[in-house]
Point group: C2
Chain length 148, copies 2
C-alpha cells in the first residue's frame, strides 16, 4: 500500500468510515498483484482465502464497491457474466484493453494521449467530472482469427 493510499484511508476514517482489516488487506492484496492482472470477485475470494485472508464473499463485494467508489480500484467489464477489478493507475497512464470475443484473451496497452483526449471531451460536456475512462477494443486475437 502506498503512502498516498494510506492518506486516503485516513481521510475516509475522518469522514466516518471504518478502516477494517478486511478493507486494508484487500487493498494490500491489489498492490501485490502482478501488473495488469484483473480478477473477478470469485477468483479473488479464492486467492484471498488461500493467502489466509478471511473475508466473506458478501463483504468482498461490499469492499470492492467501497474501493471503486473511493477511486482505489476500477471495475472492468469484458462482456462476460462477471466484472473484473484492478488497481487504478495514475489518471494519465491508465492502461486500456484489447479483448478477444472468442477466447477471452485480454491485452493491455497504454497511451498517454488518451487522458488528454478524455479531458477535452469532458470539458465540452458541461465540465463532466472524470472518475475513470476506459477504451476497449473488442474483436478477434491472432489465434482465434484463424479459426472462425
Amino acid at each position: 500500500m502506498t503512502h498516498e493510499a494510506k492518506e486516503k484511508f485516513n481521510k475516509l476514517r475522518e469522514e466516518g468510515y471504518r478502516i477494517t482489516s478486511q478493507r486494508e488487506q484487500l487493498l494490500e492484496f491489489f498492490y501485490n498483484l502482478p501488473d495488469g492482472e484483473h480478477l473477478s470477485a470469485e477468483e479473488m475470494h479464492k486467492k484471498l482465502t488461500e493467502k489466509g485472508i478471511k473475508i466473506s464473499l458478501a463483504t468482498l463485494y461490499r469492499s470492492l464497491k467501497f474501493l471503486v467508489i473511493n477511486g482505489f480500484i476500477r471495475e472492468l467489464d469484458f462482456g462476460e457474466d462477471h466484472k473484473h477489478y484492478e488497481l487504478k493507475g495514475p489518471d494519465n497512464k491508465q492502461h486500456q484493453h484489447l479483448i478477444c470475443n472468442s477466447c477471452g484473451l485480454t491485452v493491455e496497452f497504454e497511451d498517454k494521449n488518451l487522458y488528454d483526449y478524455a479531458i477535452k471531451i469532458a470539458k465540452r460536456n458541461n465540465s463532466f467530472e472524470i472518475r475513470d475512462y476506459q477504451f476497449k477494443i473488442f474483436g478477434l486475437c491472432e489465434k482465434c482469427r484463424g479459426l472462425t
Copy 2:
C-alpha cells in the same frame, strides 16, 4: 432496414441461418429507434410488445446475441446490472459515451479520429481484428457534481 443490412441477412441465410420474422422485426425496430437510444432487453421487450411485435424474452435475448455476433448492433455496459443495445454505426463514426456514476445519465459524443487510433493499436498487437471499439468516460455530470 438498410439495403446493406438486407444483403447481410441474405448472406447469413446462405450460411444456413434462418431469417425469422422475430429477427427481422427486431432489427427493423432498431432502425426505427431515435438516434443514440440504447435500451435494455427488458425495456425493449416492453416496447416491442406495445408495438404488437410478438417475441418472447428468451428469444429476444437469443436474437440480440445473434445480431451482436453478426455485427448489426453493439452491446454496451454502463456499469449497471443489465446490458444495453444499440444499432452499430459505420466503424469510423461510431459514437461513444460519457456515463454519470450517480444518476446514470449517458451522453453521446463522436470523434472520427478514434477509429484510426483503434486501428493503430490493433495493428501493433498481432493485427488484432476489430469488431467494436468503445471509449467510455465515467464520472459525475453537472447536476450530480453539485450534490456530492
